[in-house]
């Protein structure tokens, strides 16, 4: 077997009291594609940060081709042969493809960029990746995401990278584009490069990666050859507990219809959706990226404009709605974009939790801050939020605790209908489990819950019914027990159920 191209030995990293990484070791050999998997918060981002030189390791060492590797920034890492491709692509949209590929390493004579060399370099790097002709003189903004991903890889190749690290490369790609990308990466590996892929899409890995490393709570908990492990085995290692304990079941009974969407149409999605949500019911919304899951919830809540169709609450027609009216009608919405929309992260927990319902603490617009603080404090303790100081700024909380605050806002406004858009995105396993428990308890109390999720296992275990969306349309709805991951995927991708 060949000598490793890249080796990480017993690397540890702490942030304050948080031990983000503990004694992590792994290797990548030439021609190897290694998958790095783990739940959110397992330490993957920190690990990537160390590889890219954004963070410095507290202890441990790294080697590239046998030479010590201690980058102090992405540029140094790249010069040493390690190129990182982030989830959010580092592409300047107004520069041409060729300029993007040479970005930071422009071929120049006395400060004047040599356009011909730039162009040739781009063309030769792209030619190694794809047979499709790409006009390197066009600005990047004119190209699709999947093409731009190739451009980033081409940039890595043009700087003589030996190891390419990709963070969630397929998260915004369709299935076909993802498959094409994997072919390209396999091809690069076969030419002696080392590839490290961080991804949540475990099913894809089985066909494409050679080896895997599982991180959990900053530790390496499993490692081996992809051929010797099943997807379920990987999940069990990531979660660190049997799946039953992950999804606590709270008995609840389904009652009368509470919310009914009739021929609901949004600007792009939803497209003519008719759907009923009953008291005590957890209704799952499944679908691929762009299927209109979020848009459906946003239309129901009045955040996105409704083009036609209607929404009825307990049989009475809701007028053209907006968030304020929805909150008055006891409809609550949890945004999938916690930082961008869900929470005002620079404000305190108490401000965030009570923003949608300040009435209990106000008279003639005057707030009783003491009463509010007491109420928020009590809620924080009940849901075991850390820290439980209502004055703490939300940005200082971990993702899981931030999500608890966002979720608590819906409980605080006493919503009867809870529209949850990706409620467990980016939170740790323990909090996820608590979230499922809370959702079950709400259903038991007669609330109606709509749960939109890209994570099929979650839908299958938590929901009573699952509706599958495709291109904005509702294409099937059945009890959760009649679905499997495979049938969900087939229906969602339109292959037929």
């Amino acid at each position: 077997m060949s000598a490793p191209l890249f080796r990480m030995t017993r690397v540890s990293k702490s942030f304050g009291a948080t031990r983000a990484l503990v004694d992590i070791s792994f290797e990548v050999r030439p021609g190897e594609v290694r998958a790095l998997v783990g739940e959110n918060g397992a330490g993957k981002s920190t690990l990537l940060g160390i590889l890219a030189g954004v963070h410095a390791a507290d202890s441990g060492s790294m080697e590239v081709d046998g030479a010590p590797f201690r980058p102090r920034g992405p540029a140094q890492a790249r010069r040493a042969g390690v190129a990182m491709i982030h989830q959010e692509l580092a592409i300047a949209p107004d520069l041409t493809i060729a300029e993007n590929i040479s970005l930071g390493t422009e071929p120049a004579h006395g400060g004047i960029v040599d356009r011909n060399v730039t162009r040739q370099r781009a063309q030769s790097a792209l030619a190694r990746l794809t047979s499709t002709a790409i006009d390197v003189d066009r600005p990047a903004r004119e190209f699709s995401l999947s093409t731009l991903q190739l451009v980033e890889i081409a940039r890595a190749l043009s700087s003589e990278a030996r190891v390419i690290v990709l963070d969630e490369p397929t998260s915004s790609l369709g299935k076909a584009d993802a498959a094409r990308l994997y072919v390209v990466l396999r091809e690069l590996a076969s030419r002696g490069l080392g590839i490290v892929v961080v991804t949540h899409f475990l099913e894809e890995l089985a066909q494409f990666a050679d080896t895997y490393t599982v991180l959990r709570d900053g530790k390496r908990v499993a490692e081996g050859s992809m051929a010797d492990v099943t997807v379920d085995g990987l999940v069990a290692a990531m979660v660190g507990r049997p799946l039953d304990a992950m999804f606590p079941h709270v008995p609840h009974t389904v009652g009368e219809v509470l919310l009914r969407a009739e021929h609901l149409c949004g600007v792009r999605a939803p497209d003519d959706v008719t759907l009923e949500i009953r008291r005590g019911e957890i209704l799952g919304i499944a679908g691929l990226v762009g299927a209109g899951r979020s848009e459906f919830l946003r239309c129901l809540y009045g955040l996105d404009p409704v083009r036609s169709g209607s929404v009825k609450l307990s049989g009475s027609l809701l007028p053209r709605s907006n968030p304020r009216a929805s909150i008055r009608n006891a409809i609550g919405f949890l945004s999938e974009d916690r930082k961008g929309e869900g929470l005002a992260t620079r404000q305190s927990i108490e401000d965030n939790m009570t923003l949608s319902r300040l009435e209990p603490y106000s008279r003639w617009g005057w707030l009783s801050l003491g009463r509010r603080r007491a109420a928020v404090s009590e809620r924080l303790q009940r849901m075991r939020c850390k820290p439980d100081d209502p004055r703490a700024v939300v940005a200082t909380l971990s993702g899981g605790n931030q999500q608890k605050v966002a979720f608590a806002r819906l409980l605080h406004q006493d919503a009867d209908v809870l529209l949850l858009d990706e409620p467990t995105r980016g939170i740790d396993v323990a909090t996820k489990s608590e979230m499922y428990q809370a959702i079950g308890e709400l259903a038991a109390r007669g609330k109606a819950i709509v749960l939109a999720s890209s994570h099929f296992p979650e839908l299958l275990h938590v929901c009573d019914f699952i509706a599958v969306f495709q291109r904005g349309r509702l294409c099937a709805m059945r009890p959760a027990s009649e679905w499997t991951e495979a049938t969900l995927l087939r229906t969602a991708s339109g292959v037929g159920s």
Binding site: N322, R324, G342, A344, R346, G365
Partner: protein, 328 residues
Amino acid sequence: MSARRGRSRALLAALAPFLGLLSILALSGLYGHFFKPEATFFSGYRLALIAKQTSIIGIGALGMTAVVAAGGIDLSVGALLALTSVTLAQALAAGWPPLLALCATIAVGVTAGALNGLLVTSLRLVPFIVTLGTMLAYRGLAETIADERKIAASAPEWLAGLLDPPAAGSLQFVPSGVWIIVLLAVLLALLLQRTVFGRHVFAIGSNEPTARLCGVAVELRKIEVYALCGFFMALAGVLEFDNLNGQGSPTSGIGAELNIIAAVVIGGGSLSGGRGSVLGSLVGALMITTLGAGCAFAEISEPVQKIVTGAIIVAAVALDRTRQDRER
């Protein structure tokens, strides 16, 4: 980071403008002690002058604090100062009863401010551009009203004498206009910290989509905030009228918007919204005028004074930036 450490750091940050102000005062005092033994910086006359000079920037900074906290900016405040002061002068000159003239001035300020807010929300333009436009428009309006001249008008003592030094031996210490500012500052601080309106303002400034999601009437609130700023600028216009000894000038307040914004920023306001302190802004305003007085006392030329003020603004924001980075 523990909550307690976070709070002590927040306290330190809140104190930073005070420390800046104190060091300027100390430097000026020391300079006087060593180089100008015949004069003293801390004379009652000079301190009253500082208070008087602070009043106009300070009252503008109050209104701007609310705008900045809501994530906006208002570049038209300097022009509003001219517009409202010529409105007052013209109304008085036309023989209106003083109280009516005052009400008209306030109405003009509030309307012009509300128009800013209306344009920002209805056109969905960034406030920087909108108020850059209204800055020119309001200036032109002021010049039209005043026919491009200064307008002299007589007003009763209660309206014209707001910046006059108090009678010797009175317990008032500073001109009554300064006390009005203190009162308004307290009211504004309560409004921002202790009311539903205030919490909505900070929510909008901190993250507008969140505020919308939580059912806050974002557009209405923004219009109210700009109108509030217009209200404060109308009062500043009255003080400016007094400052010019009963004249309204269409060239008043050219460049004042920069000093006002600087005062808010030095005081801990963030131009990306969601943060702003009434007390901090007042201290920031005080700092800018004290710096001017200190430089004048030390016979430092005005150009150098500008350079120093500029450096302090950048330093204040840089300090704030590092604090925010650590928070993250």
